[in-house]
């Protein structure tokens, strides 16, 4: 089943509330009630945080991330990050996941659905052959919603040096 319209709610208030939660070392597992009410689409996904601030170079973020989703109809949903499956739900209308993610600025967090025919007798996803690129991986999925994990770096952008230092001969 494919949903045409996807909504990702990542209001500043959400992230702010998460920052508040970080201070107390208790990440909020669910979106606040008013955020849930805002979901008028067939499918909604909340990810917090989606952005982190790196104070040093190289820009790397390692964060506890909370993911919540809600659907009008029950479905088989899989959550993947950087082409790795993190969680799956069978015939559910909502779900939540909380875990640590490391991102470098261009990774995609994606929630996709899987046809019954792609499930084993035990209800596990029959994993498709490994794709060569992220785009191919995304193209091969029936995507419900996706979001890019971002980094705001306070430092000038750096890149790896390709040549060897002092190699003049």
């Amino acid at each position: 089943m494919r949903y045409s319209l996807i909504t990702i709610l990542a209001a500043a208030t959400l992230i702010a509330s998460n920052a508040l939660a970080k201070q107390q070392d208790v990440p909020l597992p669910h979106p606040q009630v008013d955020e849930l009410l805002e979901c008028t689409e067939p499918f909604c996904l909340w990810v917090q945080p989606q952005i982190c601030v790196a104070e040093n170079a190289p820009a790397v973020c390692k964060e506890t991330v909370s993911v919540n989703w809600r659907s009008e109809e029950p479905l088989n949903a899989y959550l993947a990050f950087d082409e790795q499956v993190l969680a799956c739900w069978q015939t559910q209308a909502n779900g939540s996941w909380l875990g640590e993610l490391t991102w470098f600025g261009d990774e995609i967090l994606v929630l996709f659905t899987v046809d019954e025919s792609d499930l084993t007798a035990e209800g596990e996803w029959r994993e498709r052959p490994r794709r060569t690129s992220r785009q191919q991986f995304l193209n091969s999925l029936d995507v419900l919603a996706s979001t890019e994990m971002q980094i705001q770096s306070l430092f000038p952008k750096a890149r790896r040096r390709l040549g060897s230092p002092w190699s003049v001969f």
Partner: protein, 303 residues
Amino acid sequence: MSAIHAMPTVYRTLSAVALATCLCLPASAEEANTSFVEDFNEQLKVFINELNIRVAMGYGERSSIVRGTDPLSFYVLPDVSYYGERFFFDNGMVGYSLKQGRRHEVSLFTKLNTEFSFFTDSITGYWFGDAYSGVSSFRNPSPSDGWEDEPPSVDNIAKRSWAIDAGIRGDYYPADYTHIGVVLSQDIRNKHRGQWASVMVSQGVPTALGNFNFKGELTYKSQDLVDYYYGVSSRDNVAPNYYYRGRSVVQPALSVHWQYPLSDRLSIVGSGRYMWLGDGVADSPLITKDTTTTFFLGVSYAL
């Protein structure tokens, strides 16, 4: 020295409001207390759109392999690089990155072929491409016995020109401080008309005694390339019994680089490189050794 951090970056999750606040805050204690390891990690990277110039003064030498040359001595070693988002210049290599990933990069590049540097024993000759005067390309038999029976050397062979190569390179960084590179390259100046390809693995090792970098390389050089520089033929002013046709080689090389930071700008640097020439080169009557070594020890200053 502080403990090795798997991930030296300090990060913090903040809202847009908190971001603005953070920009006004003084640097955190962690940031101020930069460890050796963090410095080392930063050395492997460069800030984009910044010109990086370092100059090392000391003494370095590369052993001679071509008959008639002395070891190449040098006292100043420059290290110049400039990286944009995709464009880069790095010690004579100019390139453009086609694909950039978190752990890999694919780039087109062009660089000076340094093979002709073996034909000079003067660093200025090397820098300015005038390796040695060379002789006329025409035969010049001595009137008495037809040929002087002298083995080929830089004094009696035709000049070998410097070449510019261009190609594609793939760089992969499987772990912190580990760099794997693959390079395919071709002459674009129609000089040696050959190709070379190289695979290298380098590993950085930060220690209390400074930062070490160990590198292993395997370089393939095609027959045309080897023959242009190390072959001996009618273009050279030597007896025909010295004629030699170069063969393709695979040249292994090992190198180590050491850097000990004294301050933000000053460091002690040392490096050594050992390369096996391969039979296709070493069998040439122009060549007197089958390996070459390079070393340098000095103090570097970052401008």
